[in-house]
């Protein structure tokens, strides 16, 4: 069983994850189009009507902070940032994972001590609990939460939970380890086909599509 899930099933999961992600990017790409800026509007080249004073520059900085996610929702901003960092860092940098990668392909990423990885996992799970509690108690979140949202949260947290159990050798190690691999594979497969797809959507849309909130000057737009 363990051999199967770490063998063919793992390969299949990776394949589905990568091809699914690529498909999603392609889909987004085909639904949007490049908007060439061919004409310079009259006046665009002209300097601002009045010079911006040092004080105003400072005020603009304050205001752009205020408008940012961190300024508007500091707790959510910090928790979700940490959550996502751990989400990537813990599995990619874990020594155990790197050892496996090294054994299969002879390459390895930078790895972090197991202890640290354990801490990241705990932090991650704490964040997940925060999201869960939020989803259960905050009215505006309740209003848009469906069982699907809980499922997605569970899919994301499960590999960490099982990994945590495995590391601390809770319950039957072999079973827990198999569960860890399977839940990890489920998450990989789920990314391109569920709400977890926001991974691709976020980067694609906020960087490439122009809008009030885009990062930089997005030159693409949704096709109409």
């Amino acid at each position: 069983m363990y051999e199967f899930v770490t063998g063919p099933l793992l390969w299949i999961s990776f394949l589905i994850f990568f091809s699914g992600t690529l498909y999603r990017i392609r889909r987004l790409y085909s639904l949007t189009e490049k908007r060439e800026v061919t004409v310079t509007p009259p006046g665009a080249a002209a300097p601002p009507a009045a010079a911006v004073s040092a004080e105003e520059r400072k005020l603009n900085l304050v205001v752009s902070f205020q408008n940012s996610l961190l300024g508007k929702h500091p707790v959510m901003a910090i928790v979700s940032t940490i959550f996502h960092i751990c989400l990537f860092a813990a599995p990619l940098l874990s020594q155990a994972h790197n050892l496996l990668i090294y054994e299969s392909w002879g390459i390895s990423f930078i790895s972090i001590p197991d202890k640290l990885c354990d801490v990241l996992t705990i932090i991650f799970l704490a964040c997940a609990v925060f999201f869960l509690v939020r989803r259960l108690t905050v009215p505006k979140v309740i209003a848009v939460s469906s069982p699907y949202d809980f499922l997605v949260l569970f899919i994301t947290a499960a590999p960490f939970l099982s990994g945590f159990c495995a590391y601390h050798q809770w319950l039957d190690y072999k079973t827990v380890l198999t569960a860890h691999v399977i839940t990890g594979e489920i998450m990989l497969v789920a990314i391109p086909f569920t709400k977890l797809g926001h991974m691709v959507f976020f980067f694609f849309v906020r960087i490439l599509i122009g809008g009030e909130y885009s990062f930089g000057s997005g030159r693409r737009a949704w096709k109409t």
Binding site: L69, V138, K140, V144, E212
Partner: protein
């Protein structure tokens, strides 16, 4: 045209709009992490006691989301509710913020188009001389947690 023929024609139009935008709707609805960060970017949400029914994502999920999921096959009651969501609870000021980049106003506009294919459009009670009280919505937080009161939240 008799009643059933008209209904059929309407359904056809709804499906045409849905089909034309299917891929985009799917991707956008699926990208929503239901994080509710969009809420405060809506001044109507802030002005109405943080009533979730003014939250941008709520408005999209419960109008376009339902229409998409049910392929436009929704009843009059639900249509009425959607009408409130996208016309009364939204002025399309186009300023909602989605951390994931979902173009919420675009989706609400799409919901409006879909509803129009069903003969539902914006009605502004105050312009018809209705008393102000009818226009102002009272919000009871309990209401949302009770599925019988508001079936739209349970999907």
């Amino acid at each position: 045209m008799n009643d059933s023929q008209q209904k059929k024609a309407e359904a056809e139009k709804t499906r045409a709009v849905l089909n034309h935008n299917q891929a985009k709707i799917k991707l956008c609805l699926e990208a929503c992490a239901s994080c509710s960060i969009c809420a405060e970017s809506c001044f109507l949400f802030n002005n109405n006691n943080h009533d979730p029914r003014f939250m941008p994502s709520y408005k999209v999920i419960n109008s376009l989301g339902v229409l998409y999921k049910k392929k436009g096959r929704v009843g009059t009651e639900q249509l009425k509710r959607m009408q409130d969501l996208v016309w009364r609870n939204c002025v399309l000021c186009t300023r909602c913020y989605c951390p994931l980049g979902i173009d919420i106003p675009d989706l609400i506009a799409l919901a409006r188009s879909l509803l129009r294919t069903r003969g539902v459009c914006g009605v502004y009670p105050h312009t018809l001389g209705a008393p102000e009280e009818e226009y102002i919505m009272e919000w009871d937080p309990q209401e949302l947690s009770d599925p019988d009161e508001d079936p739209d939240t349970q999907r």
